[in-house]
Every structure is written in C-alpha cells, then in structure tokens.
Symmetry: C2
Subunit: 351 residues, 2 copies
C-alpha cells in the first residue's frame, strides 16, 4: 500500500516551495519506513529546487540530511526496529555489485540513486527527499544515530558531516596532522569540528576578520586572513591537508604554497572551472595535489556518526519551521546562517 | 687538492656547449670520487643551458643522469669502495634534518642541492653536473648500480626512471592496477616499462598512430588515440593512475573521465598553468585528483634501481659522443630520439 504524506515541493524553477501531497512507495521486504523528525537544509536543495544545474524534474521535494524514527520495517530487515533513531543521507540505493559498491564507496556507483531527483531502481519512480513527513528506504542506506546525540543537530552530519569527514579520513588525519579549512559555512564549520576532534592542529583560512572568534570557538587553533599577504607567507609549507569548502569560483593558487610537500588541497564545495588557471609548477616541485571529494560511502558515514556520538559532535544549527523554507533559502544565499538550517518536521504536521 | 677535469659547459644562454676546464673540490671525509662513464641527456639540461627558466648562472655544466666507477673514497665512506659502479641523480646534498630528509624525500628539502646549478652547502661554490670526466659527491647521494645492468642504459634511470617510479609507487601500483601513460618520450617510455614490470595493465595515450608498435614493444597492453573521441569514451572510468609525461602545455581535462573513482592524474613533465581551466566537476563527482610529482628521494631511487636490476630494465638509448651534444639538443627539441641520448664519456677523454 502506498502512503500519501505531507511534504514541501517546488513545482517549477521560479516558484517557491509549497505544500505538496507526496506518495511514498509500498514498503518492500528490506525497507525501513521512517517518520522524519528533522531535515537539514543543504545548498544542493536550493540549487535543485531552482534547477541551477539544469537536471531538475518537477515536482521536486528536496532534503537529504534526514533524521527520523523507525515506524515499521519489512520482513527482511534485520538491522533496525520500530523506535530506533536513524538517518538518511544523499543516497537511498546503489547496484551493490560494482567495485565502488563492494568497496563501500556507493557514492561512486554508476547507478547510485540520489535521495531526491533520482529514480528508484525497481519501480523507476522519481525519488523525493526529506522535506516530508515520512520516507521509505532500503535498510542498506539507513544509518544508526548514536544515543545521546542531539537529533536536530545531527541532521547536517548526513551531508555536511560526511562531506568533510571523507577528505580528513582519506588523508589519515590524526594527532600531529596540520589541517586547514577554507571557508566557514555549513561545510567549513563541520570540517573544523571533525579535524579538531581527530586530533589535528586546525587553521581556518578566511577573508573576513569577523569570523575569528567563531572559528576558535568551533576548534580552530589558528586563523589566517587570506587577504593579508604576510599571513599567507607565514603559513608557507605548513599544511598536510587543506579542505576547501568555498562554494563559489575562487583562485586556489594562493593556497598551494601553504601545503607541505606531498600535501593535498581537496575541493568539496565548488563545482566549475578552476580559474585563474591552476599552476602546475608548485604542484610538481612540491609533489602536491588538488583533488575533489564527493560525500562518502555508507560505511564511512556510519563511522563518522559513531565518531560524532563518541565525541558529542553535532552541527551548529538554527531550527526553522517547514513554512519558513523559502526565507531560509534567501538567507542562505547571503550566508546568513550559523551554520545550518534544520527543519523541525513537527511544524509540517502542525500546519 | 682540487682537481681540474675536462667537461662541456655553456657560458651563455645563446652559445653552444663547448669544452671547459672544470675544477672539482678537494674530497671530504664522506666524499666519493667518481670517474664518469656515461651521462644521460635530460630536457632539464637543455632548459638550464639556455636559461629557459631564468635562473642559470654561467658557466654551467649540465648532466644529472650520471653513471660511473668509484675512483677513491674518503676516510668516512663506508658504503662504497674503488671500482664500484655507482650513479648520481638530480641531487648531491640536502640538510639531512628536516621532515623531508628524515622521511627520505630529500628532493623536498628546502636546502636540497641540485647536481648542477646549485651551491655546495659548505664551500658555497656552484655545483656542476655530469658532462665531465669526474665528480665528487657525498656518499649519501651516491646510488649503487646493480650488477648486470647495462651501464649506458642505466643512466636515464637516475632522472627519467625515478621521476616515473615515484607516482607508480605512491599509488601502490601492482598486479591488478590499471595505469595509463600520456606521451611517449624519455619519461613516457620508462613509465610504461616500470608500470608493466610492477604488474599493471598499461595503456598509452598518444596523439600519433605511429607510436603504437613501439608502445606495445615497450610493454603497453593498449594504445588509445587521444584524438579519437570514440576511443576516449571507451576508456571512461578505466584507470587508477595516469602518469602525464607531456612536457608542454596541453589540456588535461579530457583525461579525467578516463580515471576510475578516487584515481589520480600525476603531472611529471609540464611546468606551467593548466589551460584550458581544469574543471572541478569531474574531480569532485569522482573523488579524483590532479597532482604533481618531483623525481624521488634517495631511498626510492635505490629501490627503483634495485627493481630495474631484478627485472633487467634500462632505458632505450642512443649513445652519442660529447662533441655531439649540441646536435642532440636540436634533435631533442624535435622529439627525434628513441628515447634518451646518453653521452659516452670516453669520447671526452679521446678529444
């Protein structure tokens, strides 16, 4: 039996999100039916709602930082039971058989199914996200939320958390590591918290002096103003890893000299051409790399959540009602949020 | 006692290399005095002789692919004795104490001394390279040449060999790995040989159909014509590692889709801006990297030489006389060499 649930959807690129009656599929044997309690608001939600990337099919229900409570489980579900607190991130399915899947990097499966804007592998129906009352997801893509973690603050871990966790873990960041973070937003503030908890010495690169106090409160040991040449020169050769969270076009060349030999700058926020042109000279002379990183696989996501549970790490959030989503999008475009909006889904039921 | 030896030097950017009386330092306690038998001819020699990089101090004696025989050793030398076959590569000294040195990545020591065009750490005299009869080098920077390896063919291993070995080893290339090489020259032909001997499946990317037979003879399993769109599309997602040996400006974007997820394209040949602009989209969506790599440290160089000894790997070379060096430079500019010139230093004594 399909279920009709309340949600918020965009029906066109130029229309605000509005209430929408959404049909969820009949649960399958391995499905978990989840009552959504909170949903974080990611920049991807806004880009998709407004068709900024050109691939949106309407209507679209965004949301892939989902925290909920298990309502029921299919006969084949072994890992969850009603009442469990669970999360769903950017993916809800994948082929399960390709090298990416078998290595636990499901985000790189050619057939991975995004939580919204994808198509279900079996019924081919469009997938719809977390701005809704309920969601039905295969247990393979459901995450356990550690006890004691604030549920609203945990929502952004499902995208912002895993996105910044992956480059830190790939670089084996730990005590003795020197990590820099470029940009202090939804991704950047998580990168600081996670790198610090992993034991690294953490530096924030920022263009705005006003972010220093907040950066230190979040865990940064140092703040470097990227607009001040002397500060950039003083940071030469310092970092094993730079996590660049800036979501718009920017020159990455000035950061390369601040990497130590064999260091990497990992882009997680900006999709587009690297202009001005990236110079290969310091890359070669220092055996350095510029890389990209896409969210993370399901095993890494669970590892990150368990780490956050053990260290009491959640996102700094501002809770909003579902009906406030369009105002929230406008504020996000002005970076007017510290550091992530999270929708309280009780507000949708109360409408 | 300093020694005066015959050599070939450039005395200005626009003058051909010509015979030059070179003074070698009085050997120190840890110095090895080497009779040079062969010296490979690297593009860096030409660039330095002609001041293409703007840092040349004249006169300059190029040459950093040096194979020789030990003539004498200082009182503190424990690792070599007269008669040993030895090699000297791109470096002749470093601080020995910094993180790069203690980790065996001496090429990244801020004080590493290049074999030519550097300055000795103690007497501050300019270092001069292998286009000469003899060289005096600290034992720390002298390499053992395995018995049985053709001495002339081994010379290019000291630069072209280690330059392509480093990215292969950093990527843990071995059986099951899929490696592509861009460009078939001095570096490219070594990359193919080394990757194949490490057990990888090897593909050459080339713009010229005429290189296919040679590539297969050198060990390539496949050849992809980068000018043929269908061949590039068919290679999508295939490679764990691409070693890009092309020494001039070129668009690296078309190669990125041929990397598998988490794959890297490593530049070893081209120093300059990456134009057209590198697109971050496939880097992020595939968690891929574009990196640079600079030669390799002394431990890695010895490891590579020992590997080549065990597998009978040398460079494909054309032996020239010292007096033919200027003609050789002109032919290198036309890529008219398969695949490395090596100077027979007996020709210098015979002049």
């Amino acid at each position: 039996m399909t279920t009709t649930v309340r949600s918020y959807a965009a029906v066109a690129s130029d229309s605000p999100l509005a209430p929408y009656k959404l049909t969820r599929r009949t649960p399958r044997q391995d499905d978990v039916t989840i009552e959504i309690l909170y949903c974080g608001v990611c920049h991807s939600d806004l880009h998709t709602a407004r068709n900024d990337w050109g691939w949106t099919q309407y209507p679209i229900v965004p949301g892939h930082e989902i925290i909920g409570r298990v309502l029921s489980v299919g006969a084949g579900v072994t890992r969850f039971k009603p009442g469990d607190h669970v999360g769903v991130g950017c993916m809800v399915d994948s082929c399960g058989e390709c090298p990416a899947c078998t290595q636990g990097h499901e985000q790189h499966c050619p057939e991975s199914t995004y939580t919204y804007g994808g198509a279900d592998r079996y019924d081919k129906q469009p997938t719809q996200g977390g701005y809704s009352e309920k969601i039905v997801v295969s247990q393979k893509f459901v995450l356990r939320i550690p006890d004691g973690l604030d549920l609203a603050g945990a929502a952004p871990l499902l995208c912002a958390g895993i996105t910044t966790w992956s480059p830190l873990k790939n670089a084996n960041v730990g005590p003795g590591s020197k990590v820099a973070v470029v940009g202090l937003g939804g991704l950047g503030h998580m990168a600081i918290k996670l790198a610090k908890a992993l034991g690294a010495e953490v530096t924030l690169f920022t263009r705005s002096q006003g972010k220093e106090d907040d950066a230190r409160r979040l865990g940064a040991d140092h703040v470097v103003l990227s607009t001040v040449a002397e500060q950039m020169t003083a940071a030469a050769g310092r970092f094993d890893l730079i996590v660049d969270t800036v979501p718009y076009a920017h020159d990455v060349n000035p950061y390369i000299p601040t990497l130590s030999f064999k260091g990497s700058l990992v882009l997680v926020g900006y999709l587009g051409p690297l202009e001005p042109a990236l110079d290969s000279v310091p890359l070669i002379l220092g055996s350095k790399a510029v890389a990209g990183s896409l969210i993370g696989g399901i095993p890494a996501t669970q590892e990150m959540l368990d780490f956050c549970g053990a260290h009491g790490i959640t996102s700094d959030i501002e809770i909003i009602k579902m009906a406030e989503i369009n105002d929230a999008y406008e504020r996000m475009l002005k970076s007017d949020v510290k550091y992530r909006f999270v929708i309280d889904m009780a507000s949708l039921k109360a409408e």
